[in-house]
């Protein structure tokens, strides 16, 4: 072990240094970004050229010789036992090469339940896949699917959460169920019992269980507010749908996958098909978005595997847009009953949350982590219930739970501030112990020229303006199963290899930057080869873990390579290794600066074609931090300005100010892009998106991009971003992610601004014109 001094704190606020004891193999401390050349700059994406010229090959773009097209027959009723399946006509259809009938499912809770009697899985939602066909073209595959006949014994179903909670509701599951979590950051408590369709309560998270005594807390309160909030089901809608191309090739499997986890996809496939991991290769060079839903192989991936195995040919199976909506994941809705107690000075004395949410046939609708962790409150309890409905399974979705939770919590705190007659930022100053959010509030206050909001609804005229603020909390997760290889070749070429994937967040580019910085090169000098399980395994792209997990081993591997090159340079320059300094791609003798050799020339002296070093993510410096101090680091504060037309009910977001931090920022422009994306998604969540289920048929009414209302250019407001560097001496790069925090506070900030505009609380989203008019008593 060695002791090093690392930057610690926030520049222009409390930046200092801290001594940490770290393993000898760790590279020296990285100074703050202002002293670096590549890290912390606006570096162009390494794959931007491929994207703007249309040469980037996504899974949807893979066409292999002999490739067949897969299509699945999906249940058209929401709940049924399958009596028989007739695929004879489909089998006889010219151009059909393989047909596979599912014997068990891999998604949702307890997918293998009810499998014994008929031999077929029970249909639990409309759109559940039953049979798959592989044919010479997609048109023929679709024709064959239309020839499949399934005889059902229909069962009573329920798609509405409130209906599903009733004691007489049809049961989605007959027994208690569990579910494995994906790697996307959702929190599922194991072993809980169900009553009817209601499972729970989940009372714990990685932050622990209940604290203190609620009764005592509420007794101490001067002010108590109790409110009910509702959020809708939101679907992920990545522009590239879920899908794979599987080439089974007699057990030497290659899978092109639009996935957030090459590792997860490989491991799922190896397990399902009983193959060693070494026989399954997953390639994901470009991924058209994921937002949490693409962590697993999925039923479609299993199906493509069977069809490819059976036909002996590669099979492409991409979901269509409707399948994407109904079966590929969603953010569960929520019904949140919150009660807060506070002293006159704002001190929270008690906070209670009772929540229900439906992830359809899946689990993971908890919302309480943010209420549990963001504010100081000695007495806290949450009871979170999952409610099963006959709808497609939920999936991790950009800050699972926290987006729903923030919508309720941050409106409640806003209301508390109004009741106590204090500025909502001032109240947060009192109850929020996070240093980073304190600084974020200060910066935001300056940039917004923020004053205590005017009296709600006080604007004259029909179009009323409002301002609002809300905060975000996301724990800093790290995935230690993150490995990177760095190679230097005799011609000076540098290659970075890892199985980690880039779902559009810019992972390739941050890897190039970190390695370039360490080797004294430019990021354009680095070739980044990722998204392939032939390379060392990297983390899944979920939970905002990637940058904090993969950049430290990248730097450490580059450092190991550099150490070898320095030894080589010492020999060439006839000096000692300690006397070599690396600057701007030159290896220079410190004692005699005329003695130097360029990176390229030095590489030419290598004894072998390439040198290669691999490093895995070390433990966090100062101890692995989750749930203890980790939550401080990914805070954010967002401000919203809105206009509400009280005659039409139309809400327009005029401006968002997003104040964020993500440890040491690696690539400023990419961070801005992700924040823009989180904000826009948050606006859409607040105002537009809503999965509408038909209670009578159990089908989604809007499984497309025209009736499922999405943000387009006119829905995008002015977004200003303030990024605050924050050093925590956590790793050799001290970076963290930004994807989730960007999405958490927006909807709550918009809702608070809408309240400030019209003087009526919108406790249910999306805030549609109809809801505004209803709230104003106009309809």
């Amino acid at each position: 072990m060695k002791k090093v001094k690392l930057p610690y704190g926030i520049p222009d606020y409390n930046l200092t240094e801290i001594v940490r004891e770290i393993p000898n193999a760790e590279p020296p401390a990285l100074p703050v970004n202002s002293k670096l050349k590549v890290i912390g700059k606006r570096v162009k994406r390494t794959d931007a050229l491929a994207k703007v010229t249309g040469t980037a090959v996504f899974t949807a773009d893979v066409y292999l010789p002999g490739m067949l097209y897969g299509k699945m027959f999906r249940a058209d009723i929401p709940h049924a036992r399958i009596k028989s399946i007739d695929v004879s006509a489909a089998k006889a259809h010219p151009g059909v090469f393989a047909i596979h009938i599912f014997k068990e499912m891999i998604e949702g809770a307890n997918p293998k339940e009810n499998n014994k009697k008929s031999g077929y899985p029970e249909v639990k939602y409309a759109g559940q896949p039953i049979v798959g066909v592989a044919a010479i073209s997609m048109d023929i595959a679709e024709e064959a699917v239309n020839l499949i006949r399934v005889e059902y014994e229909p069962l009573e179903f329920v798609v509405d959460m409130d209906d599903a909670r009733k004691p007489e509701a049809p049961l989605v599951y007959q027994t208690n169920v569990n579910q494995e979590t994906s790697s996307g950051g959702e929190d599922i408590e194991e072993g809980l019992k169900s009553r009817g369709n209601v499972r729970g309560p989940a009372t714990k998270s990685f932050y622990g269980g209940p604290r203190g005594n609620l009764k005592k807390g509420f007794a101490e309160a001067d002010v108590i507010i109790e409110r009910t909030y509702r959020t809708q089901v939101q679907t992920h809608c990545p522009l590239e749908t879920h899908g794979v191309v599987v080439d089974y090739n007699r057990g030497n499997v290659t899978i092109y996958a639009s996935t957030q986890s090459t590792k997860g996809t490989r491991n799922d496939f190896a397990k399902t098909f009983d193959l060693p991991k070494s026989k399954v290769r997953v390639i994901s060079e470009f991924i058209g978005g994921g937002f949490g839903a693409k962590h697993t192989l999925g039923n479609f991936g299993v199906m493509a595997g069977h069809l490819s195995k059976q036909s002996g040919r590669p099979v492409k199976l991409m979901l269509d847009r409707k399948e994407e909506h109904v079966s590929a994941g969603n953010r569960p809705n929520s019904l949140q009953l919150m009660k807060v107690g506070a002293k006159k000075d704002g001190t929270l004395t008690a906070l209670k949350l009772l929540s229900y949410g439906t992830a359809g046939v899946g689990l993971g609708s908890g919302v309480g982590n943010i209420a549990q962790a963001m504010y100081e409150c000695p007495n806290f309890k949450m009871d979170q219930y999952d409610v099963f409905t006959n709808a497609g399974p939920g999936a991790a979705f950009r800050a699972p739970g926290n987006v729903q939770g923030a919508f309720a919590l941050e409106q409640l705190i806003d209301e508390l501030a109004e009741r106590l007659d204090v500025d909502p930022l001032q109240l947060r100053e009192k109850i929020d112990k996070s240093t980073i959010r304190k600084v974020q509030r200060e910066r935001g206050t300056q940039l917004m020229n923020w004053k205590k909001p005017k009296k709600a609804g006080s604007d004259p005229g029909p179009v009323k303006k409002g301002i609002g603020v809300a905060q975000a909390h996301w724990p800093r997760f790290v995935n230690l199963d993150s490995t990177v290889e760095v190679r230097v070749m005799q011609d000076g070429a540098v290659e970075v290899r890892s199985a980690v994937q880039d779902i559009g967040t810019g992972t390739k580019t941050v890897l190039a930057q970190v390695v370039a910085e360490e080797l004294g090169l430019k990021s354009a000098d680095i070739t980044v080869l990722i998204g392939d399980t032939l390379f060392p395994i990297g983390p899944p792209s979920g939970g905002s873990v990637v940058t904090g997990s993969i950049t430290p081993p990248a730097r450490n591997a580059a450092h190991k390579v550099k150490t070898k090159l320095i030894d080589l340079a010492a020999g060439e320059l006839d000096t000692k290794a300690e006397n070599i300094v690396v600057e701007n791609s030159w290896f220079i003798s410190k004692s005699d600066r005329s003695k130097k050799i360029s990176f390229k020339n030095l590489a030419g002296k290598l004894r072998v074609e390439q040198i290669t070093e691999t490093a895995s993510r070390s433990d966090d410096y100062g101890g692995f931090m989750i749930g203890t101090v980790g939550y401080e680091e990914l805070g954010a504060v967002q401000f919203a300005e809105v206009s509400v037309d009280t005659e039409t009910g139309f809400v327009k977001v005029d401006r968002i100010m997003a104040v964020h931090s993500c440890g040491r920022p690696i690539n400023i422009s990419q961070i801005e892009s992700q924040i823009n994306g989180g904000v826009i998604m948050g606006i859409a969540y607040a105002l537009y998106e809503d999965r509408v289920m038909d209670k009578n048929t159990g089908h989604q009414m809007n499984p497309n991009l025209d009736q499922y209302k999405m943000p387009f250019s006119f829905e995008v407001p002015e977004i200003q971003i303030e990024l605050i560097e924050e050093y925590g001496a956590r790793s050799s790069t001290d970076a963290t992610g930004i994807g989730e925090p960007a999405n958490i506070a927006t909807a709550a900030a918009v809702a608070n601004a809408v309240y400030n505009a019209i003087g009526v609380r919108m406790t249910e989203i999306p805030i549609t014109p109809a809801r505004i008019l209803a709230a104003l008593g106009k309809i």
Partner: protein, 209 residues
């Protein structure tokens, strides 16, 4: 291999088939550029030539990015599928396959159209341009340059459609306002939420052109 195929099942079951729908709709313009009137002219010409084709494959010639290509395709093949599958021009993306996201935007005689809502056989002797055809002699066009410069891509799946729409805008309106840009892009869906940088990139490209 040859396959005998029945009429598509979809027509019998009363669902709207792509062929039936497109026959009524003609070539569908992307975004709001329909006003360019060239589309309507194109539609009239297409109707004139209307005759029953298929269901078996037919040979067509199609001019794409300056080259005439001969294809054997089923008449129901969309232009998007013909470009992607037959010509490997996979820069043309299909996001929704029903004209709601504009990822599949290409130009026909310089006018943006949704290639997922256009049949390949409809194109006739018009010239198709895809994202792959924008760079001349390996030199990117200013919109492509600006997209790189302004980090106007995230996952990149909407990028081709955005650039095709934006380039057409700048060719017809060299100094657009931000509102002009938003109008032009109003049909282009981007789930990553890259819009602010896309607007910046296009306005910057206009200044540099």
């Amino acid at each position: 291999m040859k396959y005998k195929r029945k009429k598509p099942k979809t027509e019998k079951t009363g669902r709207i088939s792509r062929r039936g729908f497109l026959k009524g709709a003609g070539i569908t313009a992307a975004g709001t550029v329909l006003a360019g009137s060239g589309v309507l002219k194109l539609q009239a010409q297409t109707e004139e030539k209307d005759k029953t084709l298929g269901p078996d494959a037919v040979n067509i010639k199609i001019k794409v990015n300056g080259h005439v290509r001969q294809l054997s395709i089923e008449p129901r093949t969309t232009l998007a599928d013909a470009l992607r599958k037959e010509l490997q021009l996979t820069g043309v993306k299909v996001g929704c396959n029903r004209g709601a996201c504009s990822a599949c935007t290409v130009w026909i005689d310089g006018i943006p159209v949704l290639s997922c809502m256009t049949l390949a056989v409809e194109v006739g002797d018009k010239e198709v341009t895809t994202i792959e055809g924008l760079a001349k002699d390996d030199r990117l066009n200013p919109v492509q340059e600006a997209f790189m410069e302004h980090d106007a891509t995230q996952c990149g799946f909407c990028t081709s459609g955005m650039i095709m729409t934006a380039t057409h805008l700048l060719e017809h309106n060299p100094s657009p306002t931000e509102k002009d840009v938003k109008v032009a892009l109003s049909g282009n869906f981007c789930r990553c939420g890259t819009h602010p940088k896309v607007f910046d990139a296009i306005l910057d490209a206009a200044r540099k052109m």
